[in-house]
Every structure is written in C-alpha cells, then in structure tokens.
C-alpha cells in the first residue's frame, strides 16, 4: 500500500517539486495550502508522515507540530533552513521525529522518510523486487531465477536495485554512480563497468541472457 505524506511548505516551487520527488519514489502526497489552520488540514488528509517547515506564514512550524501531537502520534520530519541547535532542540522537544536542514540531499531526505515509515508502520514479509522473472531479495542479497540463486555483493545489490526500480527505462551511468554515492558506495566509472560485467556473468550463470542491455552513449536498461 502506498504511504501518504503531507507536505507543509510555504514556498510554492519547493512544495511542488517535493511532491514530484516523493511521488516519483512511490509515495502519495498531499500539500497543505491554508497555513492558518494547518493542523486541521493534516487531520483531514490523515497522512502517514508529515514534512513540516518551521518558518511558515502565520503560525510557526513548532506550534503546528504541537497541535498535531494533540491528536496524533504520526511521524513528523522538520525540514528547515534554520540550523541552530535551539531549533533542533525545540523540534525534538515538541515531538518531531527528525530534523533535516535545507538545502538537503534528496537521498538523505528519502532515506529518513523510508526508515521512519518502516519503523512506525512495520510490514511483514521481506522486501523483494521482480522483473521479467528475476527476483531480487534485498534482505539476503540474492538474485533468484527459476528457483536458482546467485549471491550478490553490496555494490551489485545496489546497482540491481536501482535498475529494477527503473525497469524498462534507460538509466544513465552518471545516475547509477550518483545513486551509489548516495548510498555510501564510492564507485567510479571503471568500477561500475567492472561491477556490471560481474553481474552479467552471474546472470548468465543463472541462465538469463541479455537481461541488462547497454544503450550506446545513454546507459543501461533492463
């Protein structure tokens, strides 16, 4: 089931782009438009998580947070450009679950959202992705095809995860490398080629051919 995220942000561009980003990463979003009674709107939207700016017209994010806390325990992430320790302390005291400062790395924001949602709404079953009969098991770092398994390294899992998530579209090498860097794997261009080749070998070992296709000058696609 898709999780719904409420975005409380007064800058229209950030609001819109944040929604685009979250929707692109598999979340449903709703924006609070009337800042005079943000908490009530959050109640109506009934989201799984709230992204809350501190500096809002009218009421401050802190008071919105404490008003939301009066009726709900849903996770709240403060997103703000004020990065003083007082603000951070305030946000935690008032019941915020995380504090991210602008300008943020989207990867870090998404990781925070993901880990909070996983913690608050635990789902049964292990996470796995499937594409054209191949199944990627994230927890055990294995690739399954017709009952046969191949063990994968950390880099290989992340590369495959990225390709599976973008199945059918072309992923440029630069995008893959950036994604790996966001996941603390500092792989350069050559190392990516090496990893892709190794994955291809493992795939052909499982009996899948031409799973990862190279698009000349564009990138890879599955």
């Amino acid at each position: 089931m898709k999780k719904k995220i409420a975005v409380i942000e007064d800058d229209p561009v950030i609001q819109k782009e944040l929604q685009t980003l979250l929707e692109g990463n598999g979340y449903e979003t709703a924006a609070v438009t009337d800042f005079s009674n943000a908490a009530d709107q959050v109640k109506q939207i009934d989201p799984h998580l709230v992204l809350l700016d501190i500096r809002l017209p009218g009421e401050s994010g802190f008071s919105v947070c404490s008003r939301i806390r009066s009726f709900s325990r849903l996770p709240i992430i403060f997103v703000t450009s004020c990065n003083t320790d007082m603000d951070e302390l305030n946000s935690i005291m008032l019941g915020g679950d995380a504090f991210i400062t602008k300008p943020y790395h989207t990867a870090i924001l998404l990781a925070k959202i993901d880990s909070l949602i996983k913690r608050v709404y635990p789902e049964e079953g292990t996470e796995s992705l499937a594409w054209k009969g191949a199944v990627l098991h994230l927890e055990s770092s294995r690739l399954e095809y017709e009952g046969r398994y191949a063990e994968l390294t950390k880099n290989e899992v992340k590369i495959l995860y990225y390709l599976f998530r973008h199945g059918g579209t072309i992923c440029s090498r630069a995008d893959i490398i950036e994604y790996l860097w966001d996941n603390q794997l500092y792989v350069d261009d050559n190392a990516l080629s090496v990893n892709i080749n190794r994955i291809r070998e493992k795939l052909s070992g499982l009996g899948i051919r031409d799973f990862i296709r190279t698009k000349h000058r564009q990138g890879y696609t599955i």
Partner: protein, 338 residues
C-alpha cells in the same frame, strides 16, 4: 611622577616665596633689627618651607604611584575612574570628572559599534537562511529533471551552498558557545555526510574516495565537524594531482581518537606548513591555484580550538595528511554508566 617636572612647576611659587623673604629682610633691617635676628627668621621660614614642600611632594608621589599600580592590576583599564579613591584636591576633582566623561563616551561608542555588529551578523544569518530556500528549490528542480545539464547546475549549487555555509560559520565562529551541542557522534556517519555534501565536486574531479572502518564514537558537535571535513575535502580537490585519491582512516592512540584525512595532491611546502592555519595565509600553493582565500583552514583551526579538538597537517611522500584528534574523556563514560 617626574621630580624635575614637579619642581619646575613649583618655580613661580618658590619665586614668590623668595620675593617675600627679600621683602621681609629689607623691612626688618630698615626697622633696626640686627642681621642675626633677620638671618634666624629667614632660616626658620626656609626650613618650614622646605619641610612642607618635600612632605607634599612625597605624599603626592606616593598617591600617584598607588594609582598607577592600581591601573596596572586592573584588567579592564577603562574602569579606573570607578575604583580610584575620591580626589582630595580641587584640581584632581576636575581631572576625575573628565576621566569619567571620557570613559562614558567611549563606552557609548563601543556599545553603538557592538550593536551595529550584532545587527549586521543577525542580518547575515537571516540572509543565509533565506537564500537556502531558493537553493533548495533549484536543487529539487534539477533532481526532478535529471540530465547532463542539470547535473552541471547541481555541481554549481553545491558550490553555492558551500560558500553560504562558510559565511554562516564565519559569522558564527566568534560566539560558538551559543551554537554547539556536544553529543556522541559516529565518525563514520559524519564522514559519509561530508562526502555526500561534495558529491558533484568529487565526481567531476574523478577523485576516488576510500573510507576505512570507523568503530569510533567521539564527543563533538556534528554540524561543526562536518564543516571542518568539508573544508578539508575541498582543499584536497583544489590542490589535487593526477589520479586523485582521498582516504579517511581512523586510529586510536592512548586517550585520543585520530581521524586521518589523506590526499595524494601537490602537497604543502615545508616552509609554508607551520603557517597554513593562519588567517589569510595562502603560501606557494595559493599562488598556483585560483581563489585561495586563506580562510578555510583558519576557520578549521578556530572551530577545533572551540571544540577542544586537535588539528595538524603532516607532509606525506606524495600529498598531505590532516589529522583531527578527539580527546576521550573518561568522565563522560563514568557519568553515563551511573
């Protein structure tokens, strides 16, 4: 007090005395007093005069010396009019009033300047918070529309946010005590964050990054530490050589945890090495590379001092290693265990 000057100032008074003595002796002699009597009277006068003059000189000298030593001992010397004893003479009274007036007007001036400085600093901080909103918006726009073009812009945005951060920390470095919270920090996490902060810079310059195992927790302020690491990373890229490598490794040495940031760049000249943390120092390398401000490492050292950390640079066979040392404090663990 200069004795010569003192007696010179007393010259008119002494002359008047001398005149008085002459007039008296002439008067006494005309009235038929004997020379001996006249001489005796003059002697008594002279003696009394000398005793008075020397006593008053001595007393004044003592008083002024005490004042001087009082001022020496005082740390904030401008407070001297508040603590000296009440003036005994009419003239001193006036000087005292003048001193107080001067002090008050100076304090007013300083207050004014301080207020202006504070307002300016607050404005800068405010401005930085405001500029972050459009930066974030641009960043999101680029991330949602990935292409080679937006990737270039993201690289530039990374620079913009680095400069704004530097400004913020420069504005704040004078009064860090208001803005840091020392917490247990996982070094590895901070390093990864710093690398991510400079992702586009490192990717563009094809720097290969190696992060070693860090089982260490240190007590520090995460935000400031990240700023310091960012500076070191930027420097390593700025002064890189071909096939740049950036290596983070940690080690324990006694009661310190040391974080080593190694690069294989052009290195620092041994003559420049002792001065690289000075404000505005750019040295030989600064002349080779554009936009060296001599500010980055200076800020690093200042922040390290405030955070109670050590920072030093050592030359390697090729490149430089910066070593950050964190002091372990057993008391913290003891308190926590209880």
């Amino acid at each position: 007090m200069n004795a010569g000057q003192y007696w010179k100032n007393r010259l008119p008074f002494l002359c008047a005395q001398l005149l008085g003595m002459t007039a008296l002796s002439v008067f006494l002699l005309i009235n038929g007093n004997s020379r001996d009597v006249t001489a005796a009277i003059l002697l008594v006068w002279l003696f009394a005069l000398a005793v008075c003059m020397f006593c008053s000189f001595y007393v004044r000298k003592k008083r002024l010396e005490r004042l001087l030593s009082l001022a020496e001992d005082l740390e904030e010397k401008y407070l001297i009019p508040e603590i000296i004893q009440k003036p005994a003479e009419a003239e001193e009274e006036v000087w005292h009033r003048l001193l107080k007036m001067a002090g008050r007007s100076m304090l007013e001036q300083i207050g004014e300047v301080k207020r202006e400085r504070k307002e300016y600093r607050e404005y800068i901080e405010q401005w930085i918070h405001e500029i972050k909103t459009p930066i974030t918006a641009m960043q999101l726009l680029c991330e949602n529309h990935r292409s080679d073009f937006t990737r270039e812009i993201l690289g530039e945005l990374e620079k913009v946010s680095r400069y704004t951060e530097q400004t913020l920390y420069y504005a704040r470095s004078g009064h860090t005590e208001k803005d840091y919270s020392v917490k247990p920090v996982r070094l590895e996490q901070v390093i990864h964050q710093s690398v991510t902060d400079n992702k586009y810079l490192l990717l563009k310059n094809q720097v290969s990054v190696e992060v070693g195992e860090f089982p260490y927790r240190v007590y520090s302020d995460e935000k400031w530490l990240r700023f310091i690491l960012n500076q070191l990373i930027v420097n390593a890229v700025k002064y890189k050589s071909s096939e740049p490598v950036l290596k983070f490794s940690g080690e324990e040495a006694g009661d310190t945890v040391r974080l080593r940031v190694e690069d294989n760049g052009i290195g620092i000249d041994s003559q420049d090495l002792p001065r690289i943390f000075d404000k505005g120092f750019t040295g030989k390398n600064g002349r080779k590379v554009q936009n060296s401000t001599g500010l980055g490492l200076y800020l690093c050292r200042r922040l390290c001092e405030k955070l109670g950390m050590g920072i030093e640079a050592e030359p390697l066979e090729k490149g430089t290693v910066f070593i950050l040392s964190f002091y372990r404090n057993d008391y913290i663990y003891q308190v926590q265990e209880q």
